[in-house]
């Protein structure tokens, strides 16, 4: 069976000239009921280099965080003002993943930035396959601070 997808008004036409509708197929949102999504470079959703493997959006406050939404994140640890650790549900293959983050201003209306906290000291270790330490600081002073919102995504 071959399919033809027309350009301006896409539809599927089968080799016997029937369409999705005339062939009696139920119109529905595309779903994958078996197998997996595969990209042109033969990677899959879990291995694709252009896909975020984990992300999280949370509100930090003194002593805790309020989690708004996440994917492949099992928990977030509040370790101090501006110090957080993101824990992944499924581990990365190695620790060479990249993170991209954004933060809102803090309670003092100061602009904040977030990034991985690779201090590698006794308290805040480097990123591993299962955890990634995150730090938030005021952009003008580099002082640790709790923004209203922290958003971080992880790619590999």
């Amino acid at each position: 069976m071959s399919t033809i997808i027309n350009g301006s008004s896409p539809s599927i036409t089968f080799s016997d000239s029937t369409t999705q509708t005339t062939a009696g197929l139920t119109a529905a949102s595309p779903t994958i009921t078996s197998g997996s999504l595969t990209f042109p470079d033969a990677t899959t959703q879990s291995s694709g280099s252009g896909v975020a493997k984990a992300w999280v959006n949370f509100n930090p406050s003194a002593g805790s965080v309020t989690l708004n939404a996440s994917y492949n994140v099992s928990s977030v640890t509040y370790s101090g003002t501006g110090y957080y650790v993101v824990n992944f549900t499924n581990a990365f293959a190695d620790n060479k993943y990249a993170s991209a983050g954004a933060a809102s201003p803090d309670s003092g209306a100061y602009t904040c930035v977030v990034g991985t906290n690779e201090t590698n000291n006794a308290v805040y270790s480097a990123q591993t396959t299962t955890t990634c330490p995150i730090a938030a600081v005021r952009s003008y002073s580099n002082v640790l601070s709790n923004p209203y919102v922290v958003c971080v995504a992880f790619y590999r």
Partner: protein, 106 residues
């Protein structure tokens, strides 16, 4: 809401909040060091003591505020304010305002 507490290597408290992707007992085993405990977040310090997170300590399964650490944090916040007040007091004794001094020194 239940959270997980453990003591960090510097003696402070870390609070781990599960997302719900995994049961909290799995999060406890996977994301936290040995000795971590599950508590209800209503048992954590409230009010002004919640602002002194760096003075929190985990003692016998309960978070308490170390008063010495709390005072050290207050002192660190107060120090620059005291210094500023001292300078202003000296200016006042000379009959000058801060704005007048700034105008003089540019």
């Amino acid at each position: 809401m239940q959270v997980i507490l453990h003591t960090t290597q510097n003696g402070n408290v870390a609070v781990t909040v599960p997302t719900g992707e995994l049961p909290i007992n799995e999060v406890l085993a996977k994301d936290c060091p040995s000795g971590a405990i599950i508590v209800d977040d209503s048992t954590l310090p409230q009010g002004s003591d919640a602002q002194f997170f760096d003075a929190w300590e985990l003692v016998n399964g309960k978070v308490v505020v170390n008063e010495a650490k709390k005072q050290a944090i207050i002192d660190a916040i107060q120090a620059p304010i005291t210094a500023k007040a001292s300078s202003l007091a000296k200016l006042t004794a000379l009959g000058l305002s801060e704005a007048e001094v700034k105008a003089l020194v540019g």
